[in-house]
């Protein structure tokens, strides 16, 4: 008995500490969520003097590198102190991370993958960035290579200015020629699979035209007035700038004996260093083992004191075969961070972080991630038999969706995933962490199995005619008398989706629905979604909180989205009346000019969405990060994903390490100079 009460008190204390730690987080001054104005994040200004890392200073003194003033732009991008919760940093130290997707080459302009897990965020620079939008009180894309922009009076031309005098990592100047190359020769070129297409840039039936005015100015000519959503296509994902001086020799438009077939493999993974505008440059890569990056001596960003960024000297990424290794590496102290995106890892990492000698801390962002049940609303796409055809009719009936919602105990799902303040039930379109969510606009269809049964019986005539606990289809349907069986598919890679799906089986059985659960591998799951071959689907979504950038997650904006109501090739899609309303609002949203207009429309969409139970919310959760304690300038509420992943959300170039905590740099003498670039295979091709 004594030991029991002792245990109990320990648990109580732990719970107390646990819950306190969140209240503390909510108020502390290390939190940045929605706190800053744009000019408190970055500015483009001239400073009186500049300073650089000691290893670079030495290279300048040896005459290997031009002086800092010549390497920096005349007006550099200055990262503001307001974003640095521990203040300006000191130079040195290593960031050790883990990635788990093979690097298939460095030609990101042709769709090559550089391993994800933060590597893309380090290497790819674009006109604008979304990474730090989470810090802004008025979320708008943050200037990056583009310093400012203006619409002409007729709203059809966007004049965009770019940073002057910035240089690529090999010392070649960055100009609007690189922007034009990326846009005209990669994005618009149909022979090259780049990260965006001419379709993305079509407004009012016309493909947007780019006119280069001078080295720092371009004009975008649109086919419609004020296509504000175009600004979201200047992001890292859609517009990673490629160095023209490197790639023109592989591009058939510039080089006679080049061909499109070889363009995507122009710079294979082992052939480093490569040319980037990013803070670090890849200098070594051993497939399956490790990627090493060192400081880019030409990086064009500084802190307010004029210190050239990044602070840390080296970034080393261990390559693993699966993302779980990232967590193991963090726990063993061999890696520096992991994302806590999945409730199944929360408990394990939490336990390790509580140990006295634990070297890392966990922090959780706002509610941004959610799990939802999607019903296939397509009338005939993917239908192969009478049962499916009848089911689709049911799904398209609001009363049936309501019955399903009443049958689902969301609170049980959320506490089953991870009890405590990190999860909660979820009813609507956007998660609570979204600036666009409001309880007022959310209609809740609460857990009430009796009501569900009544609806199924009275509205649809379902009855259990053979007394086996499962409802039977009523007379008048094509499958009259059959059991009410519904397939539910989910993705095996998402452990929490599988867990939630499993919990749905007994809940729905309670009201007489027999759920057949299919747990599918990631690609198979996607293939089934794309072919419309499913009844129900449980999915995780991390991006619904930023609906302006991911409109396809809230409604129909193309023939193939949303995934649960696609247009087939034979019959035209019949949108339900409320879907049509949402679709119209989304078109309106694309052309909104102010943040207020945007908010109004998105509120209206949430109201229509939840009232009509477009999808059934299951639960939402706060995703977290676990980061080694030695790093400074990590905000306490840094979200792993909101607008972009955390490497950009910090951003990583302002992270620093106190001198006594710094790990040894191993590659200080390998900062690439001209001869390193000219020694690569790609440069002599």
């Amino acid at each position: 008995m004594k030991s029991f009460s002792k245990k109990l008190s320990v648990i109580l204390v732990l719970l107390l500490v646990f819950s306190m730690s969140f209240t503390v987080l909510a108020q502390d001054d290390r939190a940045l969520l929605g706190k800053l104005d744009m000019d408190e994040v970055i500015q483009f200004t001239n400073l009186d003097s500049y300073n650089e890392a000691p290893e670079l200073k030495e290279m300048v003194e040896n005459g290997e590198l031009p002086p800092l003033e010549e390497r920096l732009p005349s007006t550099p991008l200055v990262r503001q102190s307001e974003t640095m919760v521990d203040g300006a940093g000191i130079y040195g130290g290593v960031w050790r991370d883990t990635f788990a997707v093979p690097i298939d080459g460095w030609n990101w302009g042709a769709g090559n993958v550089q391993g994800y897990f933060g590597i893309h965020q380090i290497l790819h620079e674009s006109p604008l960035l979304r990474g730090e939008m989470w810090k802004l009180n008025q979320p708008d894309p943050v200037p990056n290579l583009a310093t400012d922009w203006e619409w002409t009076d007729d709203g059809k031309t966007l004049v965009m200015n770019f940073i002057e005098g910035a240089k690529w990592s090999d010392g070649e100047p960055f100009t609007t020629e690189d922007i034009a190359f990326t846009y005209n020769d990669l994005i618009l070129n149909e022979q090259i699979t780049s990260t965006a297409t001419a379709d993305d840039w079509t407004y009012g039936g016309e493909v947007t035209e780019l006119e280069v005015i001078d080295d720092t100015t371009v004009e975008w000519h649109f086919g419609a007035e004020y296509p504000m959503s175009a600004l979201s296509y200047f992001d890292r994902n859609n517009f990673p700038v490629s160095p023209k001086h490197v790639y023109e020799r592989f591009h058939p438009a510039y080089t006679a004996d080049a061909n499109y077939e070889d363009y995507p493999t122009a710079i294979p993974a082992h052939d480093v260093p490569i040319v980037t505008m990013g803070a670090w440059v890849p200098i070594r890569y051993s497939a399956g083992e490790q990627l090493v990056m060192v400081r880019n001596p030409y990086f064009w960003q500084v802190d307010e004191a004029g210190n050239q960024l990044p602070y840390m000297s080296e970034v080393r990424f261990m390559e693993a075969e699966s993302g779980e290794t990232r967590t193991n590496n963090l726990v063993s102290g061999e890696g520096d961070r992991t994302n806590l995106e999945n409730p199944s890892t929360f408990a394990m990492v939490r336990q390790e972080s509580l140990k006295e000698d634990s070297n890392f801390t966990m922090s959780f962002g706002p509610f941004t991630s959610m799990y939802r049940l999607e019903m296939n609303l397509s009338k005939d796409y993917g239908v192969s038999d009478d049962r499916e055809a009848e089911l689709r009719k049911l799904f398209r009936d609001k009363k049936f969706r309501q019955a399903l919602s009443h049958a689902i105990d969301k609170e049980a799902l959320s506490s089953g995933a991870f009890p405590g303040p990190l999860t909660k039930e979820y009813h609507g379109a956007y998660p609570d962490g979204s600036v666009y969510h409001s309880d007022e606009n959310t209609t809740v269809y609460d857990y009430d199995p009796e009501k569900a049964k009544t609806i199924l019986k009275e509205e649809f005539g379902f009855e259990d005619t053979n007394d086996d606990g499962i409802l039977n289809w009523p007379e008048g349907t094509a499958v009259a008398g059959d059991e009410l069986i519904i397939q539910l598919k989910t993705n095996e890679d998402s452990a929490a989706s599988v867990q939630a799906s499993e919990a749905l089986v007994p809940m729905l059985r309670e009201v007489g629905i027999n759920i057949r659960l299919q747990v599918l591998s990631g690609p198979n799951n996607t293939a089934r979604t794309d072919s419309g071959d499913f009844d129900l689907n449980v999915a995780r979504n991390d991006q619904v909180g930023t609906p302006y950038y991911f409109m396809d997650l809230v409604g129909p904006i193309s023939s193939s989205t949303p995934g649960y109501h696609q247009e087939g090739s034979e019959n035209p899609r019949e949108l339900l009346p409320f879907e049509q309303e949402i679709a119209d609002l989304l078109q309106e949203l694309r052309l909104t000019r102010t943040a207020e207009e945007r908010t109004d429309i998105l509120h209206e969409i949430e109201r229509i969405y939840t009232e009509n139970i477009y999808t059934i919310g299951l639960y939402q959760l706060r995703q977290g990060l676990a980061i080694n304690n030695r790093f400074k300038n990590i905000p306490s509420d840094l979200p792993p994903y909101l607008y972009d992943y955390m490497v950009n959300a910090m951003p990583i170039q302002i992270i620093w390490v106190a001198e006594e905590d710094q790990y040894d740099e191993l590659f200080l003498d390998e900062i690439p100079l001209e001869d390193a670039y000219s020694g690569t295979e790609w440069s002599s091709k």
Binding site: R96, V101, P102, D104, G111, N112, V113, Y116, F117, H120, T193, T195, A196, T197, D200, N237, N238, T265, P268, A269, R284, S286, A287, G288, E289, Q290, V292, R316, M318, A320, E321, S322, T325, N328, N329, V331, S332, G333, E334, S521, G522, P523, N524, T526, A527, D530, S531, Q543, Y549, M551, D552, L553, S558, S560, T561, D644, Y645, D664, L666, F667
Partner: protein, 322 residues
């Protein structure tokens, strides 16, 4: 010469199996574009569609297969790995070194330890040492090696705070070879060798023990002892030589099994060997890579058998062709 039709069948069946599930490699790409790159679903799907036609994945199945085989036969070209954006042969060759190193080390160790302990067990039947060895052998045989790998990983990572996964710690991957690097390498290397070797050791030991016990009952052993030969000569020159034959016959067979074992434990231990590449190729439907791996496994089985036969002929003159 029955090998060639067999390889054709293997290649065809493996190609079918890889193509069976819905979707193809570009579905994997599409998945990553939404989950990792943060693209919208529409954009990801459009990009996957473009890549599909670029790489000919929208062609009919038989055409894809025939093209693949044609290139292997005519040009020794095993196709293209989408995942690595490189020719399949580059991917496999680049990872073969460590694979064979692990498989062979495990093999040699399992044979050496297995045979020595087996002999000891047989000559000291029912002694304390024999019982201990037997218990360990059963444990080694009955625990699947992926489970062993997980337990060892958990122990090293969570209890000893050591680095697991890969063959080197982060700071040694590109370091020049020196003592520290060798020590670091061995700290990582013993795990897969141990995991892959343990089942083989146990099996070899049991086979050796059983065979030697049989042989020791035979009359020629009695004769040898009666002749006054020392026990040493009786056992090592006569009995062991006969008892070891099935083991050698099995040697060749065990090569592909070891490579498979290496695959499973490499996946768990995240080693830069062929195993994880094969596994990921299957998962992501990187079909030419997966198909080529299956072909390679079939070839090692054939070669292993051949090697086993040759070795046996060396040791046992009775099986040689006249």
């Amino acid at each position: 010469m029955y090998i060639i039709p067999m390889l054709i069948v293997v290649s065809f069946v493996s190609f079918i199996v890889i193509s069976l599930p819905p979707g193809d490699y570009m579905t994997t790409v599409q998945n990553r574009l939404t989950s990792q790159a943060g693209m919208s679903q529409d954009q990801a799907r459009a990009m996957a569609e473009r890549m599909r036609s670029q790489y000919g994945l929208d062609q009919p199945f038989m055409l894809q297969y025939l093209n693949w085989i044609k290139n292997i036969v005519l040009r020794g070209d095993f196709g293209f790995s989408f995942q690595y954006n490189r020719p399949v042969s580059d991917v496999i060759w680049g990872r073969l070194g460590y694979t064979f190193l692990i498989a062979l080390s495990a093999h040699i160790i399992s044979v050496l330890i297995g045979v020595v302990v087996g002999i000891y067990s047989a000559t000291h039947q029912y002694s304390f040492g024999d019982n201990i060895a037997t218990v360990f052998a059963f444990i080694g045989l009955s625990i699947p090696n992926f489970f062993f790998a997980i337990v060892i990983m958990y122990f090293l990572s969570f209890k000893l705070n050591m680095h697991v996964g890969g063959l080197f710690s982060s700071e040694y991957v590109f370091a020049p070879w020196n003592w520290a690097k060798i020590v670091d390498f061995l700290q990582h290397f013993w795990v897969p060798v141990f995991v892959v070797g343990i089942a083989g050791t146990a099996q070899n030991m049991r086979i050796m023990r059983g065979n030697l016990l049989d042989e020791l009952q035979k009359q020629y052993v009695q004769t040898a002892r009666a002749k006054g030969l020392t026990e040493r000569v009786v056992i090592y020159k006569h009995a062991v030589r006969n008892a070891i034959q099935p083991l050698i016959m099995y040697l060749g067979m065990s090569l592909p099994f070891l490579i498979q074992g290496a695959i499973v434990s490499s996946i768990v231990l995240q080693l830069p060997t062929t195993g994880p590449a094969f596994y990921n190729a299957l998962l992501s439907q990187d079909m030419y890579l997966a198909g080529s791996f299956l072909l390679m496994l079939a070839v090692t089985l054939v070669i292993g058998n051949l090697l086993g036969d040759i070795l046996l002929a060396q040791i046992d003159p009775r099986v040689r062709y006249e």
